[in-house]
Structures are given as structure tokens and as C-alpha cells.
């Protein structure tokens, strides 16, 4: 290791220690477990800074945080899956003894022998670790894919597809009271008739051109090509607008983290 690296490491450990002591001291009046709490907050702040250090460049602190994150999160989700699905949803349906052991309510009428099927399929899935019978692990896979394919087929047909198509049936004439009225009241007021109609025209033709852009089996030439070009412009506006709208959310997240550092760790603000 280079000398600077060692120095930085030692520095970090010293600062960590000082922060722990100071934080614990500031917490003595609020909690009995002030040493543990002080450590927890300092550790959380340390991890936060480790990740931020990535912005400068890849470094040992980031590597440490990254590897810790991977290990802890994998185990966290495994445990949650076990408690919430196996203990929460499966056991009360298949075994009274196990329900009593895990202290989850067992309803005799919800006993369902069909629930042994997913257990069986789950075990088949684990069999892929074996070279000889690994191929049976495709059965549960086929089950999962078949289930969701069936689900998606109907749901998307109904909600994303039929509903969105019907939503496109917008009136192209809004508050229509004759052409003379339209021109005499022509204005660019955001609540006016012209803008409302313009919106509907843009929505209708925008959707049509957008769909035309997604035609795959026809060459985009001539009028068709023109419409497809307008389609891609509409998509670009959509993407630009979504991007601009999103910036706000991303900043909020950073506000959350900086607030944590300033408030919970350094107690700079109340």
C-alpha cells in the first residue's frame, strides 16, 4: 500500500472514533444505549460518505461500502422472503404444527393441499445445482413464465391497450359555437378554447404519428416516413419533458442525504 493510502485510512479511522465519542456524549441525555446509538449514527454517516466518495473516483472506501451493501442486502431480502412468504403465506395453508411453531394463525379451512405444488416446484428449481437432473429446473420456470404470460396477455390487452385507445377518442372540437365565434374569441389564453382544442389535436395526431413510428414491417418513406418523423419528434418532446420533470425528484434525494449528515450526524441544524 502507498503511504498516502495508509495515512488516509488512519485519518478516517481517527475521525470515525472521534465522531463516535462526541456523538455518544451528545446522546447521553436522550437514550440509555448512547454508545450503540452513537456508533450506529456515525457508521451510517461513514457509509454515506463512502458512497459519495465515488463521485471523485473509485477508491477503497467505496469498495468497502459496495461489498458490505451487496452482502447485507442479499441476506436481508432472503430473510424477508422467508418470513413474509414462507412463514406468512405458505405455512398457514399447509401445516398446523409449523404454524404453531412460528406462532402464525392457522385456519383449518384455509388448508390447501395445492400449496404443496409451489414447494415441489421450488425444490425442482434447486435441483439445477445437480448436473444430472438439472433440466427439471425448467419446469418451475415454465410455470412462472406461463402464469405471467397468461396474466399479462389479458391485463395489457384490457388496461394498457383498450383503455388507452379509448382515451384517445378526444373531441377535436371543444365548446364549438360556430366558426365565427371561434375566430372572434381566438386567443392564446391557457384556459381558452383554442389552446384546449390545440391540445386535443396534438394528442390525437401525436398518438397516431407515434404509433406509425413503431411500424416495423413497412419502410418509412413518403407520407408514412413523414408521419414517422413527426412521431419521433413527439417522442423526443416526451423524453425531454420527462427528464426535466425528474430533476426535481433527484435533487430531493440528495437533500434527504445532506440533511441526514447535517442534522442527525453533525447536529448543525435542528
Amino acid at each position: 500500500m502507498k503511504r498516502t493510502t495508509v495515512l488516509v485510512m488512519v485519518g478516517a479511522i481517527v475521525i470515525f472514533g472521534i465522531s463516535w465519542v462526541l456523538k455518544s456524549m451528545s446522546l447521553t441525555s436522550t437514550t440509555d444505549h448512547y454508545i450503540a446509538k452513537g456508533f450506529a449514527i456515525t457508521f451510517a454517516a461513514f457509509l454515506t460518505l463512502c458512497i459519495f466518495s465515488f463521485l471523485y473516483k473509485d477508491n477503497p472506501f467505496y469498495k468497502f461500502a459496495e461489498h458490505l451493501f451487496v452482502g447485507v442486502s442479499a441476506a436481508f431480502w432472503m430473510s424477508m422472503g422467508f418470513w413474509s412468504t414462507i412463514v406468512g403465506n405458505l405455512i398457514p395453508r399447509v401445516s398446523e404444527t409449523l404454524s404453531n411453531y412460528f406462532k402464525v394463525p392457522y385456519h383449518p379451512e384455509s388448508y390447501n393441499p395445492f400449496y404443496f405444488l409451489p414447494v415441489f416446484l421450488g425444490i425442482l428449481l434447486l435441483l439445477r445445482l445437480s448436473r444430472k437432473v438439472g433440466w427439471v429446473s425448467r419446469w418451475p420456470l415454465a410455470f412462472i413464465v406461463g402464469t405471467t404470460a397468461g396474466f399479462n396477455f389479458i391485463r395489457y390487452l384490457r388496461s394498457d391497450f383498450i383503455e388507452q385507445v379509448s382515451a384517445t377518442f378526444v373531441p377535436l372540437l371543444v365548446d364549438w359555437q360556430g366558426i365565427g365565434h371561434f375566430f372572434s374569441n381566438l386567443s392564446l389564453s391557457s384556459t381558452g378554447q383554442f389552446v384546449a382544442m390545440l391540445s386535443n389535436w396534438v394528442i390525437f395526431f401525436g398518438v397516431l404519428c407515434g404509433i406509425i413510428y413503431f411500424f416495423f414491417s413497412k419502410e418509412h418513406k413518403g407520407v408514412f416516413g413523414g408521419a414517422s418523423k413527426i412521431g419521433i419528434w413527439i417522442l423526443m418532446i416526451t423524453f425531454g419533458a420527462s427528464f426535466g420533470y425528474t430533476v426535481m425528484g433527484r435533487i430531493s434525494l440528495l437533500v434527504g442525504r445532506i440533511t441526514f449528515l447535517f442534522k442527525d450526524w453533525l447536529s448543525l441544524i435542528s
Binding site: 450506529a40 451510517a44 461489498h67 452482502g71 447485507v72 441476506a75 432472503m78 430473510s79 424477508m80 422467508f82 405458505l90 406462532k103 405444488l117 414447494v119 416446484l121 421450488g122 434447486l126 439445477r128 425448467r138 420456470l141 415454465a142 410455470f143 406461463g146 402464469t147 405471467t148 404470460a149 397468461g150 396474466f151 399479462n152 396477455f153 389479458i154 395489457y156 390487452l157 394498457d160 382515451a167 386567443s187 392564446l188 389564453s189 391557457s190 381558452g192 389552446v195 390545440l198 391540445s199 396534438v202 390525437f204 407515434g210 413503431f214 419528434w233 413527439i234 423526443m236 418532446i237 416526451t238 425531454g240 426535466g244 433527484r250 434525494l253 440528495l254 434527504g256 442525504r257 441526514f260
Partner: protein, 225 residues
């Protein structure tokens, strides 16, 4: 056998679920199947955990680059798993929720996973800025349209937009930046979203049908042995 059985399962189950929508007595079938799906997914977690162990142990034993950090991963994994599965340090004992307030598992969540996850996520604030600097350039027509739309929306979300265009009279007030931003969101943005959604809806429907009919079968992998 090895190919036909899975293809048959997919076909059978898929068809069953499609028909269950039209047949009231079979309505609850879909509910049960999704619970099944989750139970299988939990078994898969163990497959994943096993692979994680394998990768990091092999890194460690072969002393590959950065092998020291694999110790951190393995330790973190083992400690969290033991605490989580055995509900160690949970004041409510076995009957309590694994994330009950004050439990060790919840503390790990609060003081380790939350800061790591939220900070990783918050890096986006920086990346959004660098991406807009780098990529929002009027290079060609498409990029210019993208840039202008984004710029108007950004301006519309600050008081600055009101200040700059507040002088525009009421009869032209759609040109005021905040109103223009709302209009872009409600008209062209909506059209674009909808076009993509219809396309995706159609694509999903067609792909699902291909899967059920066994036309699309890459996901099963080829069997060469």
C-alpha cells in the same frame, strides 16, 4: 421430454389463466397462482445466495483482484442472515414481525441499508446534472427538440420562469413558462406516452402469446446435452 414438458406447462398454465378471466368460478385461480409464484421465488433466493457465496469464496481462495473486500461481503451476508432468520435481538421473539421496532434486524436496515441505498440513489442528483451538461446539446434536430422541451420544463419548475415571462398578457398566457410547461406535460407528452404505451401493450400481448404458443423459447435455454 426435456423440452416438451416445459413447453406444455407454459401452454397449459397460460391458457388456463386466460380462460379464468372469462369464467367466474375460476376467478380465484389467478390469485392462488401468484402466491405460488412468490413461494417459488423464495426458493430461488437460496439459489442466488448460494451463487453469491460461490463467487466470493472463489475470489477469496484464488486471491483475485480485490479479494479482501469479499471478506466484507461474506461477513455482512452471514451476520445479517443469521440475525434475520433466527430473529436474534428481536424483542418480540419469534412471533413478532422481523422488522419490529427496536429489533436488531431493523437496526441493520436503518443504519446500514438505508444510508447505503439512499446515498446511492442520491448520486442521481449529480448524474442528472452532469448528463444534462454533457448531452443536452443542440447537435441535430431531435436533440434540439429534446433540449428545448427539457429546458422549458426545468424553467417551469422554478420561480425564475414566472419572473422571466410574467409580463406576457393574459390572452397569451399559455406562453408563460409555467403554463407552457403544464401544456407540454398534458398534450405532447401525453401523446408520446400514450403511443409508447399502446406499442408496449401490443408488444406484451403479442410476446405473451408467442410464449404461450411456444414460438418464443429462448428463456428455456437450448438443450445440447
Amino acid at each position: 421430454m426435456r423440452r416438451e414438458v416445459p413447453l406444455f406447462i407454459t401452454f397449459f398454465i397460460g391458457m388456463l389463466l386466460i380462460f379464468s378471466v372469462f369464467i367466474p368460478p375460476m376467478e380465484s385461480l389467478g390469485e392462488d397462482f401468484t402466491v405460488f409464484f412468490d413461494i417459488i421465488a423464495v426458493f430461488a433466493f437460496f439459489l442466488g445466495g448460494g451463487n453469491l457465496l460461490r463467487v466470493h469464496v472463489s475470489k477469496l481462495t484464488r486471491q483475485k483482484r480485490d479479494w479482501q473486500y469479499s471478506i466484507v461481503t461474506l461477513l455482512g451476508f452471514a451476520v445479517t442472515l443469521v440475525i434475520g432468520l433466527f430473529k436474534i435481538g428481536n424483542p418480540g421473539g419469534i412471533a413478532a414481525a422481523p422488522t419490529a421496532a427496536g429489533s436488531l434486524f431493523q437496526e441493520i436496515f436503518d443504519y446500514c441499508l438505508v444510508p447505503l441505498g439512499a446515498t446511492m440513489y442520491s448520486l442521481l442528483a449529480f448524474f442528472v446534472a452532469s448528463a444534462s451538461y454533457r448531452a443536452f446539446r443542440a447537435k441535430n434536430r431531435e436533440a434540439t427538440i429534446l433540449l428545448i422541451a427539457a429546458f422549458i420544463i426545468l424553467l417551469g419548475r422554478t420561480p425564475f420562469g414566472t419572473v422571466v415571462t410574467g409580463w406576457i398578457p393574459e390572452s397569451f398566457d399559455v406562453l408563460q413558462v409555467p403554463n407552457l410547461a403544464v401544456w407540454i406535460m398534458n398534450a405532447p407528452n401525453l401523446a408520446g406516452q400514450r403511443a409508447i404505451m399502446i406499442g408496449i401493450g401490443l408488444g406484451v400481448v403479442s410476446m405473451s402469446l408467442r410464449v404461450i404458443l411456444g414460438i418464443e423459447r429462448t428463456y428455456l435455454g437450448e438443450d445440447k446435452s
